[in-house]
Symmetry: C2
Subunit: 340 residues, 2 copies
Amino acid sequence: MAKQKRGRRSFAFDTPPRIAAWASVAGKKESEGPLQGYFDYTNTDTYFGEPSWEKAECRMQQLALETLLEKAGKTPKDVDMVFSGDLLNQCISSSFALRNTGLPALGLYGACSTMAESLLLASLTVGGGFADRVVAMTSSHFAASERQYRYPLGYGGQRTPTAQWTVTGSGAALVSISGQGPVITAATVGTIEDLGIADANNMGAAMAPAAFETIRAHLDDLKAAPEDFDLIVTGDLGKVGSEILLDQFQKSGVNLGGRHRDCGTMVFDLEGQDVHAGGSGCGCSAIVLCGYLLDGLVKKKYRRILFCGTGALLSPTSSQQGESIPGVCHAVSISAEREG
Amino acid sequence: MAKQKRGRRSFAFDTPPRIAAWASVAGKKESEGPLQGYFDYTNTDTYFGEPSWEKAECRMQQLALETLLEKAGKTPKDVDMVFSGDLLNQCISSSFALRNTGLPALGLYGACSTMAESLLLASLTVGGGFADRVVAMTSSHFAASERQYRYPLGYGGQRTPTAQWTVTGSGAALVSISGQGPVITAATVGTIEDLGIADANNMGAAMAPAAFETIRAHLDDLKAAPEDFDLIVTGDLGKVGSEILLDQFQKSGVNLGGRHRDCGTMVFDLEGQDVHAGGSGCGCSAIVLCGYLLDGLVKKKYRRILFCGTGALLSPTSSQQGESIPGVCHAVSISAEREG
């Protein structure tokens, strides 16, 4: 059996890589929410100085990358590879952000699970001895997402109570073979679960079964218990999806003991900011991780967290053709210090 | 420095993984072309029995995966992970093909470079000791692509001479820690190059600089020469892009010595099948690799090939907003036998 493999879909690193630096870029609404003060760069202009929202999202990734390298004291030449992806058709924010930078680039599509997926693959690349420093990065933009997935903003469509609000933000992390910073000890790759939810305004419910399946597999494969983590953080299940996840765990006899949090309910004030079921989008878990959570690990507020990015793998075309919504969740275990 | 790293963006495997099995699914036009007889499954129905072209593409991936496992004598439970992606918005062919299969899934977006990108990442996962058997898979569908990227087929739009024809097909490969089959010895991750080509009907020209850059880096990093390969195969530069690539090499003083071939010009009869500059799409290099090339390695027709997937990272939105077309190319070195 492969040597760093644990169970079928999980692995633990012989030499766990470090998250040597991280950076977050956030929009206006995000910088007015409960996590204000945790972001490296904020802008009240939804265009970030660009002529379109799509180009604004690309600009956010560029800003996240620039800030990351500055914080790490590195130049682009010090980076061996970048894993990135986003929600826009053909992942244009990610590709255009990296063009002509000379940065070796591997594109991902994991919908809103991209921060976890990119972190997992960056860890695997460094932990497998293939690279010294790899960037994991993603973004989303409320206005660009709305017009691509739902309605043009000017149409003024009504939002349902289960709808979530796409975060305008970008997060980037530098996974490194050496240096200081939180440690990635293990990870679990998600399976694609679809229990038949077809309401594109209730993506939390569509993603909850995938989150349950991945967290359960991680605990089983790594012989871990919920008590081993200070936090088990899902990406963007929001209020509705989080309730379903907790219900599934209760029914399965595993007690999360109040350790569960969700980036979608952390990033906004659900009552005060009129976001209905919470935040969503690749940027949601990205800015909560690269803003708030990694900071909490450094300050020893948290000793170990399980970061579980969740993604709804639908497209407007699949929904128009009557399909339900598959979900996926990838999990990465991050500790404040090297263990064992 | 990381131990399997060679140069900044290339790596060579300490224990090179095998391609233990492969499978290809092709449409009508492809099965009438020069590579007829090399595909495992062909169908003259462009719908593959499904109600839409998008669902047909998804069905092709399912067929490729089923055929792959059958040829390998494996079940889905024997597979640790799948890397896959496609051209449809939000990569729905890949996600829907894997839903509720229990297969751990990592989604990619590399446009038409996806076969090489998925093979590279599968090799890295197996070669790094994280998995025993990993599937690399992708697909494209002419009719689904046309209506998403260009015009509805019924519109009867005129094609320009530099335009390429999206291949209807799917390819899948099983990268394994053990067993028989061709060996993946090394790989190079691509950078995103954009020299300003903005004509979405001339994607070969847009991708050629990325192919040049990656092949050059592979040769430099691995201290290899063109003579070390029987073939240097690009993904889908087509006739126009291939000429530009050869021109770039000639100008740089490196003689490819007639070793270059392009999957886009191999898969169709350019004159007889009215495809203008050649084939394209994720399925193009996928079915040429998983149909013709791997067969050639097994039969010792080729001793070693450099498989270079090429991708044009545009979207209709980026083109409408006046952007040029970034290209990317990932390279994987495949040998008939274990070396050294």
